[in-house]
């Protein structure tokens, strides 16, 4: 028992020392050496516990010692890395202009698997398909968007606030209480009253978690998962409340055919002629199939510099399905359905 206790004491000491003065490596190394000897002494009487030629930290049975050794191992690794980096930098400096260009880091985005549906802007067929789809009336300037926002039944505080704030972002939006009505019954009434969108926010345990966006009168309908909703009140450094001006809309990274459809769906939510006087901008940024929504105001500092101020709310969407026609989850035909474990098996494959 005595023998086993001694090294633990020592190791705890070593730990303390390390915590106190992490820079002084020399003393620590000495400490380690002492410990190593002690461990050798400890191991010698046991015939079976001889170290294998390739020593690994995980084989140490004593937890504290193992931890200590592991920390030491990590530190050494880090030191080596830093040295290597220093050396490389020095080399670059020495070479000056002739230095080789820096390597671009590998990210999931730039290693993306090529998608054959990526839209080529010169493609006649896709242009025709998009020119005659359900949104063509809006893009030809024939209709003005009018949006109905409603929720699932009996919404609680947070969801209602989210709806109200969405209505301030989207011009010409009307928030209605659901009153337990079936969506399939609401749709004909909406069409009769010239609504072009129906937006339903679903909530689960007082948290908004779903969004159904249905373009009227003849589809399509998209179903999104909503996450990380941050309301205006919860935002730091937010600006004053948004004005009535029509915002500018930015759609980022919607490159595939499906992405184009979704981008058009979002674009048609807002009136076509933004009022730049209001300096407001709504952004739908797609990254790794997650669509991030942000609402900003430009702050012009002088002729050259411009800043932005977030107005909120912010939320993240993920597409679950795109259905042809108006909302009909049972008998409708789906244009695209997210199939988990089948579609997201490859991390570098994106759908939007």
């Amino acid at each position: 028992m005595d023998i086993t206790e001694v090294p633990t004491n020592q190791s705890s000491k070593g730990k303390k020392k390390k915590n106190k003065k992490s820079v002084k490596a020399k003393t620590k190394v000495e400490n380690m050496e002492v410990e190593k000897e002690s461990s050798a002494v400890e191991k010698k009487p046991e015939p079976a516990a001889t170290f294998p030629p390739t020593f690994s930290v995980s084989e140490i049975k004593n937890k504290q010692r193992r931890h200590l050794m592991f920390m030491k191992f990590k530190q050494e690794k880090r030191k080596q890395k830093l040295q290597l980096r220093k050396k490389k930098r020095k080399e670059r400096e020495a070479l000056g202009d002739k230095a080789p260009p820096k390597e671009v880091p590998k990210t999931i985005e730039n290693q993306r698997v090529f998608d054959e549906t990526t839209v080529d802007p010169e493609d006649e067929e896709v242009a025709f398909d998009e020119g005659t789809d359900e949104f063509s009336a809006y893009f030809n300037g024939l209709t003005n968007p009018k949006v109905l926002i409603t929720t699932s039944d009996r919404p609680r505080g947070r969801t209602m606030k989210f709806c109200e704030q969405l209505a301030t972002v989207i011009p010409n939006a009307h928030v209605y209480y659901r009153r337990g009505l079936a969506l399939k019954r609401i749709i004909p009434q909406c069409v009769a009253r010239n609504f072009t969108y129906m937006m339903v926010i679903n909530e689960d345990r007082q948290v908004p978690n779903g969004l159904v966006l249905c373009h009227l009168p003849d589809g399509p309908t998209a179903h999104f998962k909503v996450s990380s909703v941050r309301l205006r009140k919860e935002m730091k450094r937010r600006g004053k409340d948004p004005t009535e001006h029509y915002p500018e809309v930015i759609l980022n990274n919607f490159s595939t055919r499906l992405g184009h459809s979704i981008g058009r769906l979002f674009a048609a939510l807002f009136p076509q002629n933004p009022q730049f006087v209001g300096r407001q901008v709504a952004t739908f940024h797609n990254q790794r199939d997650f669509i991030f929504f942000r609402f900003h105001r430009y702050i012009f500092k002088n002729e050259k510099k411009v800043g932005i101020q977030e107005l909120g709310p912010r939320f993240t969407l993920k597409l679950r399905s795109l259905q042809k026609g108006t909302f009909d989850s049972k008998y409708g035909e789906y244009e695209w359905v997210l199939k988990r474990h089948e579609m997201d098996a490859c991390r570098r494959k994106f759908q939007l």
Binding site: V126, D129, E335
Partner: protein
Amino acid sequence: MEERSRLCSVWLGSETGILKGVSLDRKQAFNFCNTRTLSREQEVRALCWGDPAESELLLGCLDGTVRTFSTEKGVFTEARSCGDPQEGCFSGLASLRGSAVITCVECGKLRVWREDSSRPVAELDAGSSVCRMRQSPVDPNRVATGGKENGLKIWDLERPEKPVFTAKNLRDDWLDLRRPHWVRDMAFIPESDKVVTCTGYHQVHVFDPSSPRRRPVLEAEFGEYPLTALSLPAAGHTVVVGNTQGQLALLDLRKGLVRGVLKGLSGGVRALQCHASQPLVASCGLDRFLRIHSLEDRKLQHKVYLKSRLNCLLLASRELQGGGAAEGGAEQEVKEEEEDEVWDSMERVEEAAMKRKPGGGEEVKKKKKKAGD
């Protein structure tokens, strides 16, 4: 145009009104249309072969015209008006003894047209909202129709007054409620009188007109979404069905069990067809892809992006691949040569390393096979 159209072994009709041909040998897809006169009015809703030699294609368009496409010349040769666009779009199209054409529209009017006259030779009413009309592969005079709240009916075109067989609705359920009826697609089972249908309520039914029973003799269910298309493979006892969410399954017709699922689709299925001799099934639909699965190992063989939503599909009855015999022969020769090389290089290796020989050889073969594909 001619060369291109001769190469194609898969034909597809799209929602934008473009006829598409795909050559799996060359891995190429062609559009057969005039890009300046594109319109959604010409949306292809039905597709069938105009003659048994498969040199002519018939296209049923949304505006009520039937256009003829010659695969030899690669051009549209003829267009004639078959019915009013107000009657709804085509739900089925078939050719009868060469020049005559059978059309069926959604409102239920089934008509037979001769080549010379603009009036239909025969007309019969198959009830309202017909979803599909199919012709028997054995007896061209025998057609089946069915739709929403409109059960399966089998007609003999020689005697168009009364259907040969009308299906009865399913028995009321355990709450004594009427079960709704919605036939979405059907097929004649070869070498028997039986007809298999799939419904919008995710059931697959087998009807047997030779027996006195008018209700289905077999009922199977798959999934939770409406089944939209079905097709019978050449090797019997099974049926391939597809639904609106892009789930494709192989069902056994003896017991009604799911035999396997074909993966890889992302949108609803609009049309399915199995190859006449090979164990292959082609599917197309709203996700704008043509996919060809093998029925043996249920693996995806080909996937072609065709830029528009696809409505209908037609396979040539010849082999989908290796059509050019000369090309195939040359390729095999090359393969043999390269294999020889591999073996030559192997023999120099010492005894200890000999174990790896067969594995290495096979790998090369596999690679070659892939290249051949």
